[in-house]
């Protein structure tokens, strides 16, 4: 099915545009919108039972989704040229903000991640860089001849490394890696040679022991050790992994049914409505539910990549592709973590986990995607 669907989209990316429907005039991509709403709707259903039938939680989440939707709608209206123009400034502001965090940041939970602007707001510059880095790398690489030459690659790496290092220093290794990944995806889509990719992967593999010894902190090492052997401390660090695997596994093919999750409702599963919500979904809706969710995510990513492919400028292509793949990496990290394939890092399940910041940032990204897709110059064809 997907092949047919994909081909149709590939052959005729402007399929909906012709009608100049309401969607078109609002600069929305109906396919993407439909898939996003599908995931969010499914998420709300799961959230209801994961939060122990809390109507308040669902309402709060609905409000956030509404805000995120408005944000998306707003950014969809902007011309991609505008993004291009403001990219360097945004990146610069974000990097400065990260520096400010280092010196004037607010401590919270052992890490210095927040920047307090007295009387105005309090925000995490690292969250800003989740969009800032793809914007900047796309801007930088779109000015180069592609595939990028050595100097361009070096420049991109520096652009990625500076904010990533600052975020890692907070310390927030998870976000740092995700921000770095968003930049590296842009580099990859720009045509980084396979030789270099292979070399970088090997370098990463070789430097792993050094990272383990000198970079990683004890709690991070512990998380990895726990992943490898959750039974070593079943009531302590291994508890989360053991309980979420138990929740997923006991769901079976068809699941226990909506609201029948015993692992979550009896408090065995920690963070059941935030980071570990996919375990509740798996327990209640079984393998079928998981397949539906992951298929929806995959379709969002595929649709995003086609939007990127169909984009008219190099900047738009790289930006759209980078945003889309970054979205996918969030899904991958969260789902791997919950199913016990990766160490526990605080990454929410995109569009489903309870919480505001992540949804707004993600929908902002999809707003940019829609802007790219719906603001077309009539040069080609």
């Amino acid at each position: 099915m997907s092949k047919e669907f994909v081909r149709q989209m590939a052959l005729d990316p402007d399929h909906f545009e012709r009608r100049r429907s309401l969607m078109g005039r609002m600069h929305l991509d109906p396919w993407l919108l439909l898939l996003l709403l599908g995931v969010m709707g499914f998420g709300l259903v799961v959230l209801f039972s994961a939060s122990e039938n809390s109507v308040a939680a669902v309402e709060a989440q609905l409000v956030r989704m509404g805000v995120a939707f408005v944000v998306m709608l707003f950014f969809a209206q902007l011309d991609p040229l505008l993004y291009r123009r403001w990219s360097p400034l945004l990146y610069l502001a974000g990097t400065l903000a990260l520096l400010a965090v280092m010196f004037f940041g607010v401590q919270s939970g052992g890490a210095q991640r927040w920047l307090d602007i007295p009387g105005v707001t309090r925000f995490q510059p690292s969250e800003l860089m989740k969009v800032g880095v793809p914007l900047m790398t796309a801007w930088y690489l779109s000015r180069q001849h592609l595939p990028p030459r050595a100097m361009a690659i070096l420049g991109t790496v520096v652009l990625i490394a500076v904010p990533s290092a600052l975020i890692a220093n907070q310390p927030d290794l998870g976000t740092s890696l995700l921000v770095a990944a968003s930049g590296l995806f842009v580099l990859f889509l720009a045509g980084l040679s396979w030789k270099l990719i292979t070399a970088m992967v090997m370098l990463a593999g070789l430097s792993a022991p050094a990272i383990w010894l000198y970079v990683m902190r004890d709690y991070q090492k512990e998380r990895i050790l726990t992943l490898l052997n959750p039974g070593s401390d079943p009531l302590g660090a291994g508890w989360n992994i053991t309980q979420s695997k138990t929740a997923i596994g006991s769901g079976g093919m068809h699941g226990k049914g909506w609201g029948e999750s015993t692992q979550a409702s009896l408090d065995f599963l920690p963070e059941s409505h935030t980071d570990f919500i996919v375990a509740v979904l798996a327990e209640e809706f079984g393998f079928i539910g998981v397949t539906i969710l992951l298929t929806l995510y995959a379709l969002i990513v595929i649709r995003g990549l086609f939007i990127a492919s169909a984009a008219q400028s190099s900047f738009s292509r790289l930006l759209a592709g980078g945003i889309t793949l970054t979205f996918f990496i969030y899904v991958l990290v969260n789902v791997s973590m919950v199913s016990g394939l990766m160490p526990v890092v605080g990454v929410p399940l995109p569009l489903v986990s309870f919480g505001g910041t992540s949804i707004v940032t993600l929908m902002l990204g999809f707003g940019i995607l829609m802007a790219i897709h719906t603001h077309r110059r009539m040069l080609e064809s």
């Binding site: 592609l146 596994g249 079976g252 015993t262 397949t291 592709g321």
Partner: protein
Amino acid sequence: MHWGTLRDTVQEKQLFQTRAFVAILGVVVITLSLLGRFYYLQVIAHETYTTLSDRNRVQVQPVSPTRGLIYDRNGVLLAENRPVFSLTILPERVEDMEALLADVQKIVDVREADIENFRQRLNERRRPFEAVALRYHLTEDEMARLAVNRHRLPGVETDARLVRYYPYGKLTSHVLGYVGRINKQDMQRLDPVRYAGTHYTGKTGLERVYEDELHGDVGYQNVETNARGRVMRVLEREDPEPGRDLTINLDIRLQHIAQQAMGDKRGAIVAINPETGGILAQLSTPGFDTNKFVTGIDHESYANLRDSLDTPLFNRATRGQYPPGSTVKPFLALAGLDSDTVTKSRVVHDPGYYQLPNSSQVFRNWKRGGHGDTTLSDAITLSSDTYFYDMAHNMGVTMMADYLRGFGFGSATSLDVRDERSGILPTPEWKRRVQGEVWYPGDSVNMGIGQGYFLSTPMQLAAATSVIASRGDRLAPRHLRSVDGGLPAHHLLPDVVRPPLELGRESDWEYVINAMVDVVHSSEGTARGINRGLEYKMAGKTGTSQVFSLDGGEYDEDELKERMKDHGLFIAFAPAGDPKIAVSVLVENGGSGSSSAAPVARQIMDAWINGFPEVMTEQAIPGAMQESELPDE
């Protein structure tokens, strides 16, 4: 598009599309791998994780049965179960126990003794997530205060539990015994499965003897618990089988009258129905409030009870061993007649003392100057020691012991009294074994008046009296009357059948019984002091046992003169022709039996034969404590 004109946009677009295609392939492969992971967890390893999940949430919990009640013969409740609200703490949920205890103390009254007990229980073996009690008998006020503050006291819960309660406290202490928390020794004895949900077990008395019947059978429930061990709902339940209700032969009114007659004197009373062997009253004074033991007595109170000179914890009725003194005379009289050692016409001159042939040792009569010429009948009525010295010497220890054994001396007689002691029925073999000495003829002489090595319990004396009263029926004394409100209880009692004691001449019974009637009714009888206004015929025998004998050791360390006085004894049954009750009374350091023990027996007899005072309803018996008097333990 000025910025793109120099570049090969078509080639760049193609390059991007290749990369996007690779990315899509990657996304599809990764998504399929993730699905593979979920397929493994949810389909292939499903069973394993289902088991883990169920083990997580479902726990089997035992449900303790309700302990059977104990009623007296008229259906008056003697041991019941009352809901008691207690403050319990779930140690698994407490991070800082000291701080929590300090907080709790601000809200409810918790004494040092409570905390001490709590720590003790905390160290004992318990099931995981089993709450440990800190305080019992919370008042409504305290319940309310706890409810308000509960959110800031994690692990603190209030718990309504059925706790054993003895409405008559002291009055029934030595009959019923008490239940207490199961301790390490109990655990070795009790079936861990059957007692899985039980906190209390019978420790002494009938509670212990009939533990099996009273306990009932454990039930089970499968409960769903959350990660913190709190029960969320019951999935399945198999109800426990409650313990059986027991009715005992005791009449609480008679018990009360016995207590009143005894006053604050130390001693014991056993009253038996000679027709059935049923124990109508069994009292040991002073008693103690068994309710204090149920939820754990504090060290100080326990030490006070344990170290009291009055030994309230000691059950004199079944464990006190005293020389029977002259109360043994009717039994020896029957032995003498039946063995033809003496005849009814034999006359012995009583000069006030007795001397063995070829011996200078003098055995004195209690009455200086003696009773003159006495027949056997006179010897009983007047309690002539000389006659019985002579008879004992003639009969010999072996024959005496054989007959006394027939009356139940020398062994535990009752069917369901816990730890009844057997007394000592001395024989030459016994003396050689225990004392390492030969039996002297003087030992037999002493035994003839119930002194020397001979020891018996008040229970044995009452049982033996009952044998005379029934003219030979040897029905073992028993407490249990019926189960579950009227069902026969024979099968619960030990299958002990003692054939009736048969004498060569049936008339010997009447001869001795008449002499015993004279003890009370004749103007010469030693118990004549209690016959004023007596409307029925009572047969009795007084006795006085010397404290400075073998048994005296228990008390004579005490320097008080009071405690060196003789013990007064009295055995009796009535009406003499058709006995309804046989009684033995012991008054420690009471002096002569006629002045101390006999009046007590008279009051008991009067109540049983003439009827209880009208006003004596259940509530009128003090000891049936009101709610306000509940022990604060």
